[in-house]
Symmetry: C2
Subunit: 410 residues, 2 copies
């Protein structure tokens, strides 16, 4: 079984938009055991779209198009699908009625262009679109199935999930499901992870692989089975074994971020948190602030530049030393931040505002708690998004280890 | 002249990576007057890559591939290009020497796999890659030009800029250049911009168009001419006319962000800034912090959650009112922030920590200056990246207008 995606829209070929739909669809097709073999982007040109669709229908059992279903004359997917599958377009009166309803419900007038959206290739199955005005459809052609979806990501995602994946499973009798679990680790490099779990990465089903991100390594377990339950039964023992070997390096699973995990642990303990940072340039506050369920816990974040003479009222420089960070400053900032924000704990990540590409100046960590100050070894920091990601993960690790009663460094 | 891109790599078809290279290449091809007609992604499969390249060489004068040039057996671009252009591969001894040098310079051993990278399609022109180990090449085939580049974005970008664009211009005698200028505006919606400059958007060369972003609208002027100077001569009068009509809504041009503009204005006046925010969730501090040239100006950013009882020591709630924001709080926070950070000015953007999708609760603005407090009308805020973008732009506009001596609202 071979699937392909055809993305339609000149704006993509002008470089104005990056296509994120294809990667999303690819991931979802995998979960029902469909392999994506090609993804093609083509502009709003009837002849070229038709040609691309003909090629796709020759080589793939499943063809999914996105885009080109809007009301303007540039929207040519309907015409191209009709041409490539050798049928004519007709005006679907039922669909026209629905579109008219949509406009009257929203108090807007319908234009002639909107009538174009009720055109359907003869014999197509209409896929109703409750989240937008572009009607979608599926066409059978020589045993192949061509499905046309809107390019607007939230409409496409809704229709893929509720309509298209079940349709594909029914139509092609896809019995097997593919399920993945991700374990998120921090503090371990990819090669250190490999040394601990390399042998498990040689198995066939489930497979185990690693994916490195800024500051963390994900371990991905993927199983293929006849049902969700069977896939879960394959995954569970491997996940346990991985957790056993990786221990407290695993901070969460399946998308729960490091910040969320730490705030959840604090919430369970009824604790509140504030932060102060220089080198992470606001990434620490941002990560914690994004965990919107834990506003009660995370109360305040302070970002300062090392040109600020007295962040939180503490002098960064004295007459006999240049502006600089050290453990004493990190400690003092964490303590002052905890007092000012009136929280149970405060985390400080302190170093130069701007770090270079290679690990250079030291970055210092301090955690102020009701019972005193905790540190972790300062480490040379690196700038850029990925370097800042490391700084943030190391700081959160200090906090997580303290909350779990683990030793300070792994 | 028709160009297409072939992106090679199974990881893209698994949805693990979003392809950002194609949009970048598309934009650059436009600057030399080359139109991109297709972009195809194909996995690491020799037969399928070869087939895609054959199709591409049949219909396009220029074919650019990215990816599949690494040392592993999964890297099959060299083989596929040789097959599609009907030539054999040979081991280029000169190239092999360079690769060996690279490894010895970096103190690493060369494996047999690395030798694969010295394989070249017979007759190909080697494109030297000073920023990585994957050698690149160009092949002429039936009057078409096929160019293979690495998939690593920074290597691809370097080679496109320094080697590929000049090569394409020479090879196809591309005389014309396409140049764009962007004017960035804030405070005007897209339709309000349209009302002021709509007539200029009907011209042919240069064209004028608008692009809406969170909180700002860009006006893009694009000219096609025989030289940079001629393109500039077409753009300059249109840019002046646009600036005349849009007045102080234009805050910058060609990528200078709103934050950078404001900090530059402050730097020119020898002023320093601190900020305090709740609703923008750290986006204000982040935008200002990213303008790394102005650390001297932007010294401190404070982010607080509305569950923080006393940000900067100011109580958010009293016994007879729920946690809330009002103009008095925004003023007090701006003033306190200015004192604590010891800066010339402080900007406060204050409202609920979490805003919904539709404009709801009011967000308040205050600017503390040496001569007193300034406000702008509070406005209902909206959550999400684009809603937060608006909040930040409105706050920066208050500051920019004050610095330029403009009236408080436009």
């Amino acid at each position: 079984m071979q699937a392909e995606i055809v993305t339609i829209g000149t704006e993509l070929l002008l470089g104005e938009i990056v296509d994120t739909n294809s990667a999303w669809i690819a991931e979802r097709l995998m979960t029902i055991g469909l392999n994506l073999f090609y993804a093609t982007t083509v502009g709003d040109n009837l002849e070229r779209i038709t040609q691309v669709l003909r090629t796709a229908l020759e080589r793939s059992q499943v063809v999914i198009t996105t885009g080109g279903l809007g009301p303007t004359v540039d929207d040519m997917t309907r015409e191209a699908v009709a041409a490539a599958s050798e049928r004519e377009l007709y005006l679907d009166e039922g669909l026209l009625g629905e579109i008219a309803c949509f406009f009257s419900r929203h108090g807007r007038g319908m234009t002639d262009n909107n009538r174009r959206q009720a055109l359907m290739p003869r014999g197509a199955t209409v896929i109703h679109n409750p989240v937008g005005t572009a009607p979608c459809f599926a066409v059978e052609h020589d045993g192949r199935l061509l499905i046309s979806l809107p390019g607007v990501p939230h409409e496409m995602k809704h229709l893929m999930t509720t309509e298209v994946l079940p349709l594909l499973q029914r139509r092609f009798g896809l019995q097997s499901v593919i399920r993945s679990r991700r374990l998120h680790t921090a503090g371990l490099g990819e090669s250190a992870a490999d040394a601990r779990i390399g042998d498990l990465m040689e198995a066939g089903n489930p497979t185990v692989g690693t994916r490195a991100h800024p500051g963390e390594v994900d371990i991905v377990i993927t199983a293929k089975a006849d049902s969700d339950a069977a896939a879960e039964a394959l995954i569970a023992p491997v996940a346990s074994e991985l957790r056993r070997r990786l221990g407290h390096y695993v901070f969460g699973s399946d998308g729960e971020g490091h910040g969320e995990v730490v705030l959840r642990l604090m919430s369970e303990r009824g604790l509140s948190l504030a932060t102060v940072e220089s080198s992470p340039q606001g990434d620490l506050a941002r990560m914690l602030y994004q965990a919107a369920s834990f506003r009660e816990v995370y109360r305040c974040g302070m970002i300062y530049s090392d040109r600020c003479p007295e962040p939180l009222g503490l002098p960064l420089q004295t007459p006999d030393r240049p502006p600089l960070a050290d453990q004493a400053l990190a400690d003092a900032l964490a303590e002052r931040c905890r007092q000012q924000a009136d929280t149970d704990m405060a985390l400080a990540i302190v170093g130069p505002s701007d770090l270079g590409k290679s690990p250079g100046p030291l970055v210092y960590y301090a955690l102020a708690t009701p019972t005193g100050l905790l540190h972790r070894e300062p480490r040379p920091g690196r700038g850029g998004p990925s370097g800042r990601g490391w700084l943030v993960h190391l700081g959160l690790e200090l906090l997580r280890r303290h909350l779990l009663g683990l030793p300070e460094e792994g």
